[in-house]
């Protein structure tokens, strides 16, 4: 097996392993914190001013959904 192919396989394996580890960690965290996080999201007032934007992603506090704009839904 030549060196390039070895590097390609190594990079793909490390990437997939990292992605799997992150996926499992987030899913387990979601299971553990799930009810609390959902309750917090639902009890938050649905106001545009309280939506958060980080990494360019707007998050609606009432629903926890990603949005381009956040509307009051009370």
């Amino acid at each position: 097996m030549n060196r390039t192919l070895k590097n390609v396989i190594a990079v793909l394996l490390v990437t997939l392993f990292t992605a799997f580890a992150i996926f499992v960690t987030v899913q387990l965290t979601g299971r553990i914190l799930g009810p609390t996080a959902t309750a917090a999201a639902q009890s938050a007032p649905a106001q545009t001013s309280q939506s958060t934007t980080s990494g360019g992603q707007l998050v609606c506090p009432a629903t926890g959904c990603a949005a381009d704009s956040c509307h009051a839904t009370q």
Binding site: T18, I22, F23, T29, T38, G55, Q57, V59, G64, A66
Partner: protein
Amino acid sequence: MSARSRLWLDLGLFGALLVAYNPSWTGLAVHEWLCAAAIAPLLLHLIINWERTMAIARRFAVHLRHTPRLNLVIDSALFVAAVGVTLSGFMVSRAIAGALGFAVAPSALWISVHSFTADATIALLVVHFALHWKWITGAARRMARPSTPSARTQETL
């Protein structure tokens, strides 16, 4: 791969990731497809630099100068953040998921992970860029110079 090609690849990736940082700059669909399109060049960047990174990693615990050690720590953190932002991006995607026929409401946790890893990726990317500034300017200077046969040989090494 020549230094010239690597420089264009790296600068293109840097620019694409900065533009993709905020979906409101491009619209959500462009943001998602731009990030998806950046996966292959990112993997290529990793493959090109894999052997050098592994050589540094092997010497990490023994004797290593401060800069390569810092590079390795930053690069590793950037790798994890980039994988995290890509994975969470797929988990919260609407344009790509819609095109593939999935219409799942993204969870608040994955949205938080996507926001956090996006911030971390951009911050680490800027540090990564700064730490490799010497190589970038060197490669740019070599590109600007008229190429000679010996320079071309050097470039491909």
